[in-house]
Amino acid sequence: MAKNFKIIAGVEIGTSKITVLVGELTSRNLTIIGKSECQSAGVMKGVIIDAKAASNAVHTALEGAEKSAHIPIDEVILAQTGMHLQGFKTDAIVNVSSASNTVSSTDIQTACQIALSKQLPENRTIVHEIRRPFRLDGQIIANPLNIRGNRLEANYWIVHGDTNTVTNSIYIIQGYNLPILDLGLASLASGSMVTTPEDRHHGVLAIDIGAGTTDYVLYRNGAAHVTGVVPVGGNHVTNDLMLGLRTTPGQAETIKTRHGRATLHCRDKTTKVWLNGDHGIGDRPIPLQSIEQIISARISEIFEIVRKKLDIDYTPENTPAGIVLTGGTSKLEGIVDAASKAFESTARLGEFPPHILEQLRAPGYATALGLLFTGASAARGQLPPKKGGIWGLFNR
């Protein structure tokens, strides 16, 4: 029996939380029909370090998602992050072959093939290939087919990861007896949700600060230009507070959510807040300024690192739509100001497109939502299957 819809799930195995969103995909649209969230385990800085613990947590989340959607999941789109991911740009130029100088589909294919023919080092797997717009004689042309020109240039941003780390996460999903439809970059997934097509056309930088990692994507000319991961996130803020204020991890977390601020606001050394707030044994006053100093140092460092990694790709001038922040840590007070200062540009918190349901409009859902929406086109079979990479590994 062929059904005319498919149930796909976007899964993000995060450092603090595992998020699963279930979507019903028809040939026309995608409807979110189920969600599940649970405490993560065995994941540090975006990478699975304890497969068993992570596996249990993910399976619980998948089970919950199927329950909430009242239908079994067919396929999974899995987010990838972690410091093992690396990206590089590659390009190829071909001379337009036809006598009439119009670009043929063979020209496009050849250019793409040459650009993608780069060999990866051993133990590296392609996680995502992002095609930047074609250039014909140096001009950006979205679809060069049948357009006159001499030199066709194909550009790609290729993200590859450590094969073992990537397969570990895939095995966990397969352990639940679910096939993987696609892998998605966490940065790209959340970036696609919190930016508008206009933003992406003008140039925008989307930064998703999670618990374990900070994923960013810089859009230009309507397409992703560069992506990256900084393996630092909200957990580092908590850890810094714990060490700096000599507290337990739990107390540090509470302080972060209760009094945390990403910018220096309190100028008064004598303003203090209570550690536990219950005035019980072990409760003690802590200077608010110290809390802000610790957090702001960490947050601005994250932004500085992102900016350093982007290098010449980012300038305030070529990113007029500014900075968009999302992810759990973006709930931190003052983080927009911190971003704005670090990038010398405007910054704002990411907002979801109007078609997203009210209860899914939380920064924590950005990645899973993005996985579903960006993955939907792949699921409809509109894109040709990728060659090599992870698929070579699993389709054998």
Partner: protein, 414 residues
């Protein structure tokens, strides 16, 4: 003999000769620290300074013996911050170092890691001292993050070697020093504070063993605490005075900048607690202090305690806590009992073709090899908190898992 006439200290008993100490400053930073120390003349504590730099050595006015290392090889010049040169010099000067590392039961090393001489020479001195059956406790200063990644890396490499060679290594990261300073404090004052940390450690162990004290510790029990080497050493200081003296002391101990580690990492197997208190201290007070300290830092710990009364400050308490952890279950190889084996080891050490300095040391250390993996994170270990056992998170040679404010030298007021 009347009960009241019983000797109170082991030092007084005729069959146990008093414990002797030696404090050796190695390399530029190490000897500077030693020279800066306002060392009270402690009986039975010898001091020595070892350096390759003739000029630097000449500048010190301290009464310590000075030794210019391998003048023939180095020509009285420093190693220029090159640990390779430091190691070469140390090997060449083995003969010269050997007598320095003798003649004391406990040898303290003061060394600043990150440069050439300190990192290269200190492990060898420790090794020689161990052969002479001395207990070796090193105070190692780690460079500021702003001194550059190269020095930080060199320091961590040296620290790994030093940990293998010493009974205990107490690290004093300079980054933490910044946390202690006030805005108006001068550089010299700030550095003096680091020296003071070291001084108090030396002083505590000295007074445990030499001063007449209420509750005594002897060398054998101290050795027992340092039975397994290579592990991390917990080191914290606290003080209190006036009203609420016990709470104050405990609070100050908890806030000690040297305790910049995750709560779980604070639990140790052996605790050495030295309390220097004014004569007003009561037994219940000591009891309160000790029970909290052992609950906070001990994991079913073997607690060694020394208490002495000092009337310099009648209503003040100073506490020094040193903790060691058993690494695995393997006790250190019995020393001095098998001098032949030890010597053989040393011989091969010299004769080996020695491809590259760092490897030589690791290879010739035979049994220590098993522990190698455990020290991958040496150095930064105390400041990574929950990320302690995860891979280094390097960006531009900085470990991002360490708190930003520490690396950037932002002072956090508590």
């Amino acid at each position: 003999m009347d009960l009241h006439e019983l000797p109170l200290t082991p030092a007084a008993s005729p069959d146990a000769p008093p414990v002797t100490f030696k404090l050796i400053g190695i390399g530029g930073g190490g000897s500077n620290a030693l020279a800066r120390l306002p060392l009270p003349s402690l009986e039975g504590l010898d001091t020595a300074i070892i350096d390759t730099d003739r000029k630097a050595l000449a500048q010190h006015t301290s009464p310590a013996e000075k030794h210019l290392l391998a003048p023939a090889l180095r020509g009285g010049l420093s190693t220029g911050g090159d640990p390779e040169l430091g190691r070469e010099t140390a090997e060449a000067a083995r003969e010269q170092l050997a007598p320095l590392a003798t003649g004391a039961d406990i040898i303290f090393l003061s060394v600043a890691l990150g440069g050439g001489t300190g990192g290269g020479v200190a492990p060898l001195v420790a090794e020689l001292a161990t052969e002479n059956n001395a207990l070796v406790i090193a105070f190692a200063t780690l460079p500021f993050s702003f001194e550059g990644s190269r020095r930080v890396r060199q320091a961590e490499e040296s620290l790994v070697e030093l940990r293998r060679a010493c009974d205990a290594v107490i690290t004093l990261p300079n980054d933490l020093l910044l946390q202690q300073t006030t805005d108006t404090e001068s550089v010299t004052d700030a550095l003096r504070r680091a020296d003071e940390w070291m001084l108090r450690g030396v002083h505590s162990i000295y007074s445990i063993l030499r001063r007449p004290s209420l509750i005594n510790l002897d060398l054998a029990s101290l050795r027992r605490a340092f039975v397994s080497r290579g592990g991390k050493t917990l080191y914290a200081l606290g003080h209190g005075a006036g009203e609420n003296i016990i709470t104050q002391t405990l609070e100050s101990l908890k806030m000690c900048p040297l305790l910049h580690i995750a709560e779980t990492a604070r639990k140790v197997d052996h605790l050495i607690v030295n309390i220097i208190a004014g004569s007003a201290i009561t037994l219940p007070q000591i009891n309160d202090l000790m029970s909290v300290i052992s609950a906070q830092y001990g994991r079913d710990a073997h607690v060694l305690m020394g208490t002495s009364i000092s009337d310099d400050q009648p209503d003040a308490i100073q506490v020094c806590v040193i903790g060691t952890t058993d690494v695995g279950t393997r006790p250190r190889p019995v020393r001095a009992a098998t001098p032949a084996a030890d010597n053989a080891n040393v011989e091969t050490n010299v004769q080996q073709p020695a491809p590259k300095g760092k490897k030589t040391v690791i290879k010739t250390k035979g049994p220590a090899n098993q522990d190698q993996e455990e020290f991958t994170f040496a150095g930064a270990d105390q400041q990574r908190g929950t990320f302690e056992n995860s891979d280094l998170n390097l960006f531009e040679d900085q470990d991002l898992d360490r708190p930003t404010y520490l690396r950037k030298g932002i002072k956090i007021q508590l």
